[in-house]
């Protein structure tokens, strides 16, 4: 009972529950407006007693003003509370739906992987291409669900990293190996510049793999049509940080789109012309992950000339 009451008056907890910043939180707004009303009523009273002789008029003005202000602030707070509740329910729906979809998608992915391994019997040549289609699509579903869950966890304050000693070089090489088919089909040329004795960083390996893969995919997928895309990957360090850089000579980003590039669900105009399937979550998620690991992410780009995306991470634990 007491715990419930304390939780109710804990504004920070309430804001976290709604997943909104403090200044948009209904409880905080109510508090601020409450102070505003008290100050306005007191000021009106003192000014009224100075300028109006009849105390009953002052009384009525103060009472009217108090009722008016309380009604207005109640309406505003109530509207904010409803909006925050809708936002919370929407986020919760995404989270629950993604969770419930995740298990059957994993089961499907593993069963397809098992069938394709040939351990359950040989696959006929005519069937193989259809299994490959199934495999690709379940992987895509898995990635989309993963991305939605990362966003949902981040917005509800439950996002966490499971940090371990990790080699960015190994992860990059694995990602490039996984992307071999795409590299070939997009006619991309990859150059790796890796500083010797780079060592390891203390990060979440699965999360950093998501970041590196997203950056590599963007560089490969958004090359100029009918032209070999050159992608240059650089990993280097100084005494405190490890730097990761992906440079491409692809379609680039227009000046107007630059400010939105790390926003949720944003896809630049020229990107949608080249690739229709992106969710617009990749770079938003990259920013969440890198900043959560204590690093920074950024880019420079010129439309039709190419882009360089970079991030750095602290070396120390």
């Amino acid at each position: 009972m007491i715990k419930k009451f304390l939780n109710q008056i804990n504004i920070r907890n309430q804001c976290k529950r709604y997943g909104v910043p403090l200044w948009q939180c209904p409880q905080f707004l109510f508090l601020i407006m409450g102070f505003g009303i008290i100050l306005t009523v007191l000021l009106t009273y003192f000014l009224g007693t100075d300028y109006i002789e009849d105390p009953s008029i002052v009384f009525f003005i103060v009472v009217f003003l108090t009722i008016f202000l309380i009604t207005i602030s109640y309406t505003i707070t109530n509207s904010f509370e409803r909006l925050a509740e809708v936002a919370r329910m929407k986020s919760q729906f995404v989270s629950v739906a993604s969770h419930h979809l995740r298990s059957p998608v994993t089961n499907l992915r593993w069963v397809i992987e098992f069938l394709m391994s040939g351990r359950a019997g040989n696959i006929r040549d005519g069937q193989k291409k259809y299994f490959e289609i199934l495999e690709k699509n379940t992987k895509k579903m898995n990635i989309l669900l993963r991305d939605l869950l990362i966003v949902s966890r981040f917005e509800s304050g439950d996002f966490f990293s499971d940090k371990k000693e990790t080699s960015l070089v190994e992860i990059t090489q694995k990602a490039l190996l996984d992307l071999k088919e795409e590299i070939d089909s997009f006619n991309a040329e990859i150059n790796l510049n890796i500083e010797e004795s780079l060592g390891k960083v203390f990060v979440d390996p699965l999360q950093i793999e998501i970041v590196i893969r997203n950056l590599l995919e963007n560089a490969i997928f958004y090359g100029e049509k009918e032209q070999k895309t050159k992608v240059e990957v650089t990993i280097e360090k100084n005494s405190k940080k490890v730097y990761f850089k992906v440079k491409d000579d692809g379609i680039g980003i227009s000046e107007t789109d630059k400010k939105n590039i790390f926003k949720k669900f944003f896809r630049s105009q020229n990107a949608t012309e080249y690739q229709t399937t992106g969710s617009g979550l990749g770079l938003y998620i990259n920013k969440i992950i890198i900043e959560n690991l204590g690093g920074k992410i950024g880019f420079k780009s010129k439309e039709n000339e190419g882009s360089t995306f970079w991030f750095y991470l602290p070396i120390k634990k």
């Binding site: 969770h99 994993t106 089961n107 593993w110 098992f114 391994s117 359950a120 898995n142 699965l206």
Partner: protein, 122 residues
Amino acid sequence: MKTILFIEDEHALQLTFKDILGNEQYNVISAFDGEEGLRLAEEKSPDLILLDLILPKKGGIEVLKEIKEREKTKDIPVIVLTNLEDLKKVEKALSLGAKTYLVKANYSLEEVVDKVKKNIKD
């Protein structure tokens, strides 16, 4: 032949793991709920337990706790294999003695088999 107890309520996964781990010369026994899992862990003394967390009758964390408390089962390596990606659950499972915590969606079947090989009793 080494024995693996797979505590998982999804029939499709039980079937797949029985075949894939069987191919690797492991004997896989299946439990479809927490209570059955605990009973089979005591009766069969497997060399490794693969444990889901969302289970009927008794939840995975409770099962793990009891496995690690019981004299007969406390030394059996346990791999948690779940889709629950929750920091509190990860910390709890590892503190109770799970060898590792794998989120199913983040791994391929082959990678899970590798983890089994790495963690199974010598």
